[in-house]
C-alpha cells in the first residue's frame, strides 16, 4: 500500500513538473569534457536547497531550453550541467560580456541522494534539478549482554 502511494506521489510530481517547466532528462554518463573545452564556457550561478525529501539545485542559465540543455550524471565525476547556446547572427559581438557563451558547471553530490531519480525542468532560462534522497535504513539497536 505504501508503495502504491509512493508511486502515485511520483506520478503527480512529474505531472506538476510538466506544468511548471519543460522536462530535461538526466543522462547516466560522464560529461564529454574533451569536446566542451573547445568552446568558451562560463559557470552559471546556482543555489542549492535541501529538505527532508530532496536536494534542489536552481541554476540561472539564460538561453536554456530542453533541446540544448544536457545533464550528465556519473558516480565518479558527479553531476554536470551543459547548455549549448546558438551563435547570434553567426558572428562575434561588436562588444560584449560573453552573454552568448555556453553554460557549464559540475559538482559532486552527497551519497544520500539518488541521482538516477533526478528530475529537471527549465523555465524562463532557470534550470531546476530535484534529486530525491534515498531512504535511510532504520537504526538498529544492538543488545549488550553482560557475562
Amino acid at each position: 500500500m505504501n508503495n502504491f502511494i509512493e508511486r502515485m506521489r511520483h506520478a503527480l510530481r512529474r505531472a506538476a513538473d510538466r506544468v511548471a517547466g519543460q522536462h530535461v532528462p538526466v543522462q547516466a554518463t560522464r560529461a564529454p569534457v574533451e569536446q566542451l573545452e573547445s568552446r568558451p564556457l562560463r559557470p552559471p550561478p546556482i543555489d542549492i536547497y535541501e529538505n527532508d525529501h530532496e536536494v534542489m539545485i536552481v541554476a540561472d542559465t539564460p538561453g536554456a531550453f530542453p533541446d540544448n540543455t544536457k545533464l550528465y550524471w556519473d558516480d565518479r565525476e558527479g553531476l554536470s550541467i551543459y547548455v549549448q547556446l546558438a551563435e547570434e547572427q553567426g558572428d562575434l559581438p561588436l562588444w560584449g560580456d560573453g552573454a552568448g557563451e555556453d553554460w557549464y558547471r559540475s559538482f559532486s553530490l552527497p551519497d544520500y541522494v539518488d541521482a538516477y531519480e533526478a528530475r529537471a525542468a527549465v523555465r524562463g532560462g532557470v534550470l531546476t534539478i530535484q534529486i530525491p534522497k534515498r531512504a535511510r535504513p532504520a537504526p538498529i539497536s544492538i543488545p549488550v549482554t553482560a557475562h
Binding site: 511548471a20 543555489d47 536552481v58 540561472d60 547570434e88 562588444w95 560580456d97 552573454a99 524562463g124 532560462g125
Partner: protein, 127 residues
C-alpha cells in the same frame, strides 16, 4: 515546482533575519552587442524574469533595460535579483524602429538604424 520545493524555499526565506526588502540584490546583467548594416542588436541575460516584470525604454539617447526575478527565494548566487543596465545609443538609431523580445531568459533589443545611416550604393553613370 512541487509543493515541497515551494515550502523549502519559503522556509529558507523565513530563516533570514533581514527584512524582505533587503533581500533584493541589484546586479548588472551580462550583455553582448552586435551590429550589422540594418540594426544594432543588444542581447542581455535576464533569467527568471517574466515579460511583465521587464522594462525596456528609450529615453532620448539612452536605452534603459530593467527587470526583477519572478520567484525571489533565499540568499545565494541566483535568487532575488533585480537587473538593470543603461546604454548610450548613437543618433543613427531610429527611435521608432526599436523592438524587444524575451525568450528563455534572454532579452534581445533590436535598434533599427535610420535610413540616412544605412550604407547606400551609388550608381555610377557612364558619360
Amino acid at each position: 515546482m512541487t509543493t515541497e520545493s515551494t515550502a523549502l524555499s519559503q522556509r529558507q526565506s523565513t530563516n533570514l533575519d533581514q527584512p524582505e526588502e533587503a533581500q533584493v540584490v541589484s546586479i548588472t546583467p551580462p550583455v553582448d552587442i552586435y551590429e550589422n548594416q540594418d540594426e544594432i542588436l543588444v542581447v542581455a541575460d535576464f533569467p527568471g524574469v517574466p515579460k511583465d516584470a521587464l522594462s525596456v525604454r528609450l529615453d532620448r539617447s539612452e536605452l534603459v533595460i530593467e527587470g526583477t526575478q519572478e520567484a525571489p527565494g533565499a540568499q545565494g548566487e541566483t535568487r532575488a535579483l533585480a537587473f538593470s543596465r543603461v546604454f548610450r545609443v548613437p543618433n543613427t538609431v531610429d527611435p521608432n524602429g526599436v523592438s524587444a523580445e524575451l525568450s528563455q531568459g534572454v532579452l534581445r533589443v533590436h535598434l533599427a538604424k535610420s535610413e540616412a545611416a544605412k550604407p547606400k550604393r551609388i550608381e555610377v553613370r557612364g558619360a
